[in-house]
Symmetry: C2
Subunit: 321 residues, 2 copies
């Protein structure tokens, strides 16, 4: 069992670097903070690296200020590195991949389908709702007491990756973990307010504008929405604010695939896919060089917005119809 190998590796180390992916989300941030807090209780020297801005809604977490950029951390030959929520060695950024080659031992803890098992020890469990759910197991295996800060961070991982317990990756274990965290001092109101009730008034205008772009395609089996640069600037919005919008086309009866196109630059768009039932959107994202899960995936295209939409919808049409 690789989790016990990870336990041994952790016990035998003094310098531990926890890293997670670029464009951080609730799972990457929460699992990194929770693991770092837990390892600190074991009196390890722990550093956390995430290359990217921390979205506003997660900044209330204790430990968030300890997250550093790659440039601010030295990884030496004594260090072990624990990669969280990274499907491959590039997900944390190229600089961190260089660190990996230098460190004593690398560990890969993840729940993504298609993880490349890039590390020395790999623990990939695609039945876990989130990487946080695996980190929870590791923390328990290490016999560390889950305090309020760890509980908050771990809760963030499951509540964001399961869409607040709505997606099919939710299991009895996920619920039992949530119940346990609540008994360990989880600040439920703080999470509710920061995650869902602390929005900019502009978020409503942004939602209205993006939903107004909704189009039905592929014989009404798919629907997409578009967030243009213009709309993002109009509402002074960050791309993180779009995260839940893809659930709206997905909410429509008969829609099997929902898509969100985000214009990043003149020749760069990010595409998110969600599947409702059995259709595999990981395969669609893969075709365009991306990845993810069977029911939730994404890719980046270096094309102009309308051209990108056309390409993706044409390919989806072939596969879906």
């Amino acid at each position: 069992m690789s989790l016990s190998r990870i336990k041994e590796a952790v016990i035998g180390s003094t310098e531990i670097v926890v890293v997670s992916h670029e464009y951080p989300d609730g799972d990457s941030i929460g699992s990194s903070i929770a693991l770092a807090k837990a390892l600190s209780q074991m009196e390890k020297s722990v550093k956390v690296i995430i290359n990217g801005d921390i979205p506003l809604e997660y900044r209330f977490l204790t430990g968030i200020d300890d997250i550093r950029r790659p440039d601010d951390v030295v990884v030496n030959k004594e260090s072990i590195m624990i990669f969280l929520d990274c499907a491959d060695e590039k997900r944390a950024g190229s600089q961190i991949d260089a660190y990996r080659k230098r460190c004593r031992l690398s560990i890969n803890i993840d729940h993504h389908l298609g993880n490349t098992n890039f590390a020395d020890i790999n623990h990939v469990d695609i039945s876990a709702s989130s990487t946080g759910e695996i980190v929870y197991d590791l923390i328990k295996l290490l016999d560390i007491t889950i305090d309020k800060d760890i509980a908050n961070a771990l809760y963030i991982t499951i509540v964001t990756d399961t869409g607040s317990f709505r997606f099919d990756n939710t299991t009895a274990k996920t619920f039992n973990m949530a119940g346990y965290l609540l008994t360990m001092g989880l600040d439920f109101s703080a999470i509710r307010i920061n995650l869902w009730e602390n929005k900019n008034p502009n978020s409503i205008g942004l939602l209205i504008d993006v939903l107004s772009t909704m189009k039905f395609v592929c014989n009404n089996k798919a629907a997409y929405i578009v967030a243009t640069n213009e709309v993002m600037e109009k509402w002074k919005a960050g791309y993180g604010e779009l995260e839940s919008f893809i659930n709206y086309p997905k909410s429509i009866k008969g829609i099997e695939v929902a898509i969100l196109f985000k214009e990043i630059g003149m020749n760069e768009i990010k595409v998110s896919f969600r599947a409702k039932a059995d259709f595999d959107v990981q395969a669609i994202a893969s075709y365009f060089g991306g990845g993810g899960h069977k029911k939730a995936s994404g890719c980046t295209l270096n094309t102009q917005l309308n051209e990108g939409i056309k390409k993706v919808i044409e390919y989806l049409h072939e596969r879906l119809i």
Copy 2:
């Protein structure tokens, strides 16, 4: 403990009538079906009465077709009646209150603050997330096996009354119950699809139109949205489709009270209130003859829409500022 008194009463009865409130929601429907299914396993003669249309999203539940209107059921002197999720004797409809006066024994199982303890046996637990959570306890106390149908119905009660585990009424017990139901054969995908992914395409247009009415009042401590008859007709929408819309004004930073005004007729509006933190919106609804919980309440006003908005906002302003 009143739950064991209820157990004794149930065991000593052969004819049981389960009733819940008008304008039924997930908690009233789910707890009624779950309890009826469970009592049927005990070979009781069970009837379920709910006066009102069952919203589309709950019609997939097994047992939904057994729900009857008051006119279709005879309640005699041998019957015991179990009221679920009714804060007072009028909540199930006046006809059912007449039945109550005639029956052998009435039982009141509820979680609403301010329940009037109107029955012969009253079990009111305001710490329960939902009436379904109490029915779950009763079913376990009765030693009945929770099958897939009961699990689905009970899950509906907690997931709707907690806003999918987001509201503060969510407890460790709620999560543990959800986890348990999942192990008892709960059809998680069916619930996800029916509750959140089976919407009319018009629902997006309805959302856009209603959100476009949003106004900030009471020094930006409150925000309200309005669903006019005209908009409801434009999108051929039922009032049940508005249920989650109040979460949008509530999602804004700094908003303490969110309000939804629904125009029902020329001189009838329904008003829903939600509080984010400590402000008591039950008191506001009470002032206008309504009720509910501290953080979620509602009332009906027999006035024209704009006049009703003015009255409510003026009173709220006095209390909130």
